[in-house]
Structure formats: C-alpha cells, structure tokens
Subunit: 139 residues, 4 copies
Amino acid sequence: MTDEAPSLNTLIDRLTTDDETSVAAIKQMISQFVAERDWRQFHAPKNISMALAVEAAELMEHFQWLTVEASREVESDADKMTAIGEELADILCYGLALANELNIDVAAAMSDKMRKNIRKYPKDEYQGRYGKDDPGRRD
Amino acid sequence: MTDEAPSLNTLIDRLTTDDETSVAAIKQMISQFVAERDWRQFHAPKNISMALAVEAAELMEHFQWLTVEASREVESDADKMTAIGEELADILCYGLALANELNIDVAAAMSDKMRKNIRKYPKDEYQGRYGKDDPGRRD
Amino acid sequence: MTDEAPSLNTLIDRLTTDDETSVAAIKQMISQFVAERDWRQFHAPKNISMALAVEAAELMEHFQWLTVEASREVESDADKMTAIGEELADILCYGLALANELNIDVAAAMSDKMRKNIRKYPKDEYQGRYGKDDPGRRD
Amino acid sequence: MTDEAPSLNTLIDRLTTDDETSVAAIKQMISQFVAERDWRQFHAPKNISMALAVEAAELMEHFQWLTVEASREVESDADKMTAIGEELADILCYGLALANELNIDVAAAMSDKMRKNIRKYPKDEYQGRYGKDDPGRRD
C-alpha cells in the first residue's frame, strides 16, 4: 500500500448516499476490507456463493411466518428496519465481493440482464402477471 | 409519467461501467421495470426475500460439486462467466428491488455495516483467519 | 457386493408407504444409488449442504409469488403436487445422504431435537404464537 | 384428543433408531408438536418452504469457509456433530411438516424420484462424473 492509497475508513466515508455513490466505490471498499485481513484466500467463488446464500436466508428469516401483506409493514418498525438493512448490506457485500474476485462489471452485467428480462417479460403480456400461469388482476 | 421521464431503455443505457454508475441509477432502472409491469403488487418484502434466496441458490448451483480451488477457475470459462454474471445480476436486482420497496439507502446501510464489521473483525486478530476457531495460516 | 446384496431396484421397491418404510431403508437405497455411480467422492458435507440448499430453493420457487393462503391451494393441482413431491424427495435425499456420510442416526437426532424444541417452545407460552414477538390470535 | 391418543412424549420415545423408526412415526410426532401449539395456521407451504431453506442455510454455514476435504473431518468433532445433527433434524422436520400439510407420502415420492434419477443418470454414463461437463476421474 503506497502513501496515496486511501485508508479503509476513507473508503467507507465515501459511501454517502445512493445518489452520490458509484458501484466501483463500494467494490473498492470491500476489496480493501478483505485485503487488510488477508481474506482473499477464503473468497473463492464457491465459498462466497455459500456465504451469500446464508445471508439471503438470514434476510428471509425476518419474514418467514408473516403474511405477504404484513411483510410490507416492517418499514414502520425501526429496529426491524435496522436489522433488515444489515442483512441486505451483507448480501450486497458478498455479491460485490464475488464481482471483485471474478472481475465482473456489475453495471454492465445488470444492464445486459435487464435487456434480456425485457425480452422475456414483454410489458403488455406480463402486465400485472408474474408468470405465464398467473391469470393476473386479483381485485 | 411526464414527457421528461426517461424511458426504461434510457435508464438501462445509463448503466455503463461500475466507475460511472451510481447505485441510485440502478435502483431507478429496476423501479421503472417493475412499475411498467405493475409488479409492485408482488414485491412485498417476503416475496422479494424468497426470490433473492432462489437466485442465490442458482448462483451456488454452478459451484456445488467443484472443489474450492476449481471454483476459482470459472473465470477462464466464458460461457460460465456469462451465466454467473446473470445470476449475480438477478441477486443484485432483487436486493435493490427490496431497497426500493423499503426505502433503504444502500450506500448508507453498507457503510454502517462495514463500520460494524471492522469492530467485529479487528484486522490484527482476524489476520488470515475467518473466525475465532480458525487457526489461520495454512501454508 | 456379495450375491446376496439387494439390487438398487429391490431397495427402491421396498419404499412402499410411510407406514411401512423405515428411515434405514431409505438411507440404504440412497447409499446404493451413490455407490453405484462412484459419487461418494462428491458427497463431502460441504457439497451436500449446498445441494440441499439448492433443492430447498427449488421447492420455494413454487411459492415465491403466491400469498400464504394461495400456497395452501397447491394440493388441488395435480401437476404442481408432482413437482413439489419431487423437490421434497430431493431435499430428503440429500438430507439422508448427509446422514449416511456423517453416520448420523436421524431418528435419534430428531427425537433429541424435538425434546429441545419442547423446552424452547413451551406449549402454553407459544399457543398460537410463532415467536416471542408474535401477539398471537389473529381472528 | 381422546384418552387413547399417545402423548407427544410417547411419540418422541418411539423414535429410537433409523432401523426401528418408520417415516410415519416421525410425521406423527411432528404433527402432534405442531397441533399442540396451534401452529398449523403458520404451516402454509409457502412459510414451511422458507423455514426449510433457512435451516438448510444454517447447516451450510458450518461448512462455508472450509475446503471440501476439511468438511469431511467434522465427523471427528463432537460439538460440531451435535450442532450439525440439530440442523439436519430441523431440515427433516420441516420437510416432513410439509408432507403432513400436503398429504405427501414421502416413501412413495422418494421411490418415484429415485426411479427417475436412475433414468436421468445411467450408472455407466455417470460413473465418477457428477454431470455431463465433468470429465470424471481426478486421480
């Protein structure tokens, strides 16, 4: 690390708001955290994919016994929102850690996938329907 | 939607590279895709958390029978990398869709969580060790 | 394998109904299927745990966009029930494959865990409540 | 519950060993535990599938940073084996709880699926190979 390399704290401070934060800035923060602990040895894609699935399950655990409608109400529960924000942060962290390991440009991957989604789910055909078997409109 | 509202295609085109793309730009693209299909009705946190876990499992499936070391080699397999990039895009999409639904600022959530990680995993104590039980250095 | 060792088909035929089938009979069938393909090399606990999680996600996929109540109605859809039965079979298969690898007696493990569950969730305290935060009775 | 209905403790005591325990006996124990707490209201297939996936992730967590080979060594660690046995019990519990809710005969579903697996993975073609892309034999 040269004198000019920003410290981890500096990299964390750069994450202000979603409007002002680039994906690259988040990836750089994660990379630095991992490097400082000599943890790249653990960050093989197989391991990261497991860790990501574990975090996804921890997020799900908040909702497992709730009705779908009740799950929307968590937004008014500050403690739950903190916990959910942390689980989401963990998920995105591992997602971007995988992108770091495999040199994936996330913006490019997401725009490619979104174009594919548009072809797979034409907006007229899937209007209010989540899939081919869904009759749609339930009111 | 007023005349000035950018189309979904415009929003997709804004996702160029991780350096040039803000988290907010990705969230806006996802929001527009969901709105155009009247899919917010399905995007309750409970449902999104399930969809996210399903995508995490699809990512994991690429690595389930590989050794840890072999999983690092996927980077040299272009077809696998395309498939993995798509799974990662799906995961991040649902993660940001949840952030949209629950009004979570991801940059703020991730910097908060990273500060917590630093306290939980001091870099000297966890140097080359993934946890308290890990004796570390395996060479 | 001696002449007397039952063939895989014989072991499969022994699985008649839940009343007549022991856990050991299912474990033996799985063990034989794995051995015949020289697949124990892949059945390390790490790999099996991933495969199990992948199958659990495939089961979940059937329900991800349904309301809780609608998910109860799958029982009247024969095609869905076949698909769900297959996912459940896969999950239980990997669960018992793990038991085979690690020499876990499942009946013993489940009775131990159930005794622990009884202490953790006393029936009076948790009557109609899934957790400490659940106020219970919603009718 | 009539006088003759066995108590939950009696049902638990019937789970002795895998040789002596039928799938039906385990299902009955689970059914009684759930009924005594008035928890069937939570046991919609959607919810159970989430709970099952959460438990599968908890099992996976024990192995996420280990190499494949190291994951085989957990068998010699009594504390880890207890924890793993509990996670496996939880997974099987939710699997059989789903079978209870949807009236699935697990023995029948597993024998059907195993016959399908034999057709999908002929033993000669998949000898020592986990999939079509696997060249096999790595010694």
